[in-house]
């Protein structure tokens, strides 16, 4: 008898419970569906970016004049027989990116090493927030400073070797320095993370063997952080190659690559790169030329995609996560 009544009571509760939870389950299902759509949205967007830029960009090759896109550096869409050689723009982006990373890597690694391994606490307390602010600093602010400070300064210094004293401040040199300022904080921050990821036991192991701190950094910490530092380089380059407005403000070039590429003076004259071309000419271009700028954007997209793949690959080989 007693057992029976207990059973009945239990059943009642269960019915009440299941009614209560059914509503919950429905909202659970709906919520789940919405979340799923939002998560997939990210895939849709990147897919859309590839598809839309790809389709519009590749359409330029319907125009036979565009066949020299990857083989010529002569970009002259308004000529009687238009030419769409983009090598000049690509070269500009590659040169400024490589130059800036060559400058940034030693400085960035040096700063990161100093900040993680040697610096007194207050130095980090001061520099970390500063670096973070600069990681997100608007590129136009740097571009503005570049225009009012850097360009006149370079013009002064480089005037004697530049082909045109009036335009000596503009060009790859200014763009490279702008990029250095733009990517140094990123490279330092990622490098610091990489160095921090090296466990202290590695440092202890080195020091306990009677190494100096410098030997510890050079022989134990840096090799152990190699993959992370590699990621820092690649991320820096991703940022550099895509940087648009700041670079465009100081480049000063249009569509022409300088005639003499293999002299130092090439750095001190108005010059070109991919982003500058897009910023300057995209909005008024039509037809094949317009698709050409989409194609340039697509090239940038592919390059940054490759960079991301490389950084993922490097990161996947890291010993310490």
């Amino acid at each position: 008898m007693a057992a029976n009544s207990v059973n009945v009571k239990t059943e009642n509760t269960n019915t009440a419970r299941s009614i209560g939870t059914r509503r919950g389950r429905l909202s659970d299902q709906i919520a789940r569906g919405i979340f799923f759509v939002c998560a997939v949205l990210v895939v849709v967007i990147i897919f859309g970016v590839f598809v839309f830029l790809g389709i519009n960009g590749l359409q330029m090759f319907k125009d036979p004049a565009a066949r020299n896109f990857f083989t010529s550096s002569s970009w002259d869409p308004s000529a009687d027989s238009p030419s769409y050689g983009a090598l000049g723009f690509i070269l500009g982006s590659v040169v400024t990116t490589l130059l800036s990373i060559i400058i940034v890597a030693p400085i960035g690694f040096g700063m990161a090493l100093y900040m993680t391994e040697m610096a007194p606490r207050w130095v980090n307390a001061l520099l970390r927030p500063l670096l973070e602010v600069f990681t997100g600093v608007p590129s136009v602010v740097i571009g503005f400073l570049g225009l009012v400070v850097l360009v006149p300064w370079i013009a002064n210094i480089a005037a004697p070797i530049a082909p045109s004293a009036a335009n000596a401040g503009n060009g790859w040199a200014a763009a490279t320095l702008i990029l250095v300022i733009m990517i140094l904080p990123t490279v330092v921050s990622v490098s610091i993370d990489a160095l921090r990821a090296v466990p202290d036991s590695v440092r202890e192991a080195s020091l306990a063997l009677g190494s100096t701190r410098w030997q510890m950094m050079k022989d134990a910490v840096l090799p152990a952080a190699a993959t992370g530092l590699g990621t820092a380089i690649v991320l820096g380059m991703t940022r550099a190659i895509g940087e648009a407005l700041a670079v465009s403000m100081v480049l000063g070039g249009d569509i022409h690559l300088p005639a003499k590429l293999l002299t130092p003076s090439v750095l001190f004259q108005p010059n070109i790169n991919i982003t500058n071309a897009i910023v300057l000419y995209f909005s008024e271009a039509s037809g094949t030329e317009r698709n050409g700028y989409f194609m340039l954007g697509f090239v940038l997209l592919i390059i940054s995609f490759l960079f991301i793949c490389v950084s993922r690959y490097i990161a996947s080989r890291s010993v310490y996560k």
Binding site: R121, D200, L207, A208, G210, D219, A224
Partner: protein
């Protein structure tokens, strides 16, 4: 388990407690008993030299992590070419003490040491002591193998390269140290493969080889076997009894059987104080302090 009878009575009595071996595991591994027989072949009491000279004479050491005191007036002589074991419950300051001896605690921000540790005529704690030189003379092996992500050879050669030794010396010493750490046979064919591919026990011995390569006079070991399985543990213990012919060894251990198996002297720490230090046999058989007795009989810790 016929070995038990050879051990002091107090060990047998607490056998179940302080034996870290997982029986099931041991049963799956028939090699153990073979190795275990080997284990009895050395007996620290036979190599005990109660008159050994003092290699490091630690006196009245106080240690602070910031405001927190971790060592209270510790005085302890470390005898030349003898194994000194440090035991005590978790957090009693064993590691802290060990790490004062090669100034490893310098790395801890806010750490501060007071007192005297006379090593070859100078005070280890002196701020002016050249810690690089000190650490070349006093090597250290850590609780968890901290192998570098480099090849086996590079790991052992590390300290030698630090000293800028020529290549031929490095080659020879690497082999010698790997022999010394009883690892040569296992790795001789793969010296250039990554050290991270070794098992835990092998990595720990690699770290020992690495420490031996620079030919220190003193070797500090902080629970070198705590992360290892019984077989690896036995290998390392055996190795220690070999090494002590040439090196002064200080070992921290949680495992009292290990202390009794390998050490000549034992110091017992409790809450940052050195309760008692004496020959290992004395400590385990005739402890002078109630706390020591309680601890070794397993009533706490």
């Amino acid at each position: 388990m016929e070995k038990q009878s050879q051990r002091p009575a107090y060990l047998a009595q607490n056998e179940v407690e302080i034996n870290p071996l997982n029986k099931t595991q041991v049963e799956n591994l028939p090699e153990v008993s073979k190795e275990a027989q080997h284990m009895g072949s050395f007996d620290p009491t036979k190599t005990l030299k109660t008159d050994a000279t003092t290699k490091i004479d630690v006196q009245h050491t106080n240690f602070f992590y910031g405001a927190k005191q971790a060592l209270y007036d510790v005085s302890l002589p470390i005898r030349d070419r003898q194994v000194t074991a440090l035991i005590g419950p978790s957090g009693c300051g064993k590691s802290t003490f060990l790490r004062t001896l090669n100034r490893m605690n310098d790395l801890v921000p806010g750490a501060r040491v007071e007192g005297l540790a006379n090593f070859d005529g100078f005070n280890i704690y002196d701020p002016k002591t050249d810690v690089v030189l000190l650490r070349q003379r006093i090597g250290m092996v850590f609780q968890r193998a901290n192998t570098f992500p480099k090849s086996i050879f590079e790991n052992v050669a590390y300290g030698l390269k630090v000293q800028g030794k020529p290549q031929n010396v490095i080659k020879e010493r690497v082999e010698k140290s790997l022999h010394g750490a009883a690892l040569w046979d296992e790795v001789k064919d793969r010296l250039n493969t990554s050290a991270l591919g070794l098992s835990g026990g092998q990595q720990q011995r690699l770290c020992i080889a690495r420490a031996l390569a620079v030919e220190p006079e003193v070797l500090l070991m902080d629970e070198p076997c705590s992360a290892l399985d019984p077989i690896a543990t036995l290998k390392i213990e055996e190795m220690i009894t070999e090494l002590v012919k040439d090196y002064t060894i200080v070992i921290v251990t949680h495992n009292m059987q290990q202390a009794s198996r390998v050490s000549h002297f034992t110091g017992f720490f409790l809450s940052g104080k050195l309760v008692e230090v004496a020959s290992t046999a004395d400590i385990f058989e005739h402890p002078h302090h109630k706390e020591t007795e309680d601890y070794i009989s397993g009533r706490f810790g």
